[in-house]
Symmetry: C2
Subunit: 160 residues, 2 copies
Amino acid sequence: MNHIISVLVENKAGVLAKISGLFSRRGYNIESLAVGPTDDEKISRITLVVDADEHSVEQIIKQLYKLINVIKIQELEPSNIVERELVLMKVNADSKTRGEIVEIVNVFRANIVDVAKKTLIIEITGGSQKVKALQDLLRPFGILELVRTGKIACTRGSKY
Amino acid sequence: MNHIISVLVENKAGVLAKISGLFSRRGYNIESLAVGPTDDEKISRITLVVDADEHSVEQIIKQLYKLINVIKIQELEPSNIVERELVLMKVNADSKTRGEIVEIVNVFRANIVDVAKKTLIIEITGGSQKVKALQDLLRPFGILELVRTGKIACTRGSKY
């Protein structure tokens, strides 16, 4: 099962290597990972998705806490978060197919961010299912490049 | 100076650890990193931003090519790419300040993706400057959480 783990770390050289090394030594493949500075530039947040069982995730979290430079770790509950990822796709598109692709893109409220003679670049933001659905529809045209950020997530505030 | 490096790798446990380890041993801090599977699930793409001079970047690329599991490396030219990142920000917002925040968010064509009694979650996609501008405007209200994916980029197709 996929788990989303959010880790606050000091923004220093080598911290990412330590964390990814910990996963690698235990043989867990990181499905996706996104890291960037928070509003405080001395602190970065790593959001990672890992496919492992409950017990393994608990062990990973315990081990992560032992690393210096790690400030806080949270396993995010899918029911209580906003999760998003950003994907750029470059697809084949000529004068014959462009119209059809634009229609599909509009339905998904995705954006076209580059137009060239034989290609389009499409930007889509959303959950994994939305991205996958668009990807499946565009595959027949030919996806030349697909770059994804990996998931990030934010816990929802307390509701009314 | 910041350089954007795009690395195609086999989607296997340990690859990210090897790559981030290489940067760490040489003392380069990875400013941001995003990794996720491409349209072919056996292959992942890592997009990373590193602050280093030209010469160091050349050295890093040479070293990266020596790693097994690395398929292709590209340094992306800022003038010829579409670059984007996705950011989620949770900000303080009560009945008095919510209206003002919503106005700011609309100007930036950002989206509000969660509303609670005392907080809002805002989603914004764009280049670093747009994100920074919104961040600066929202900081006075109180940014409680800021999660960013790190930059991803796609080379533009050949223009008309």
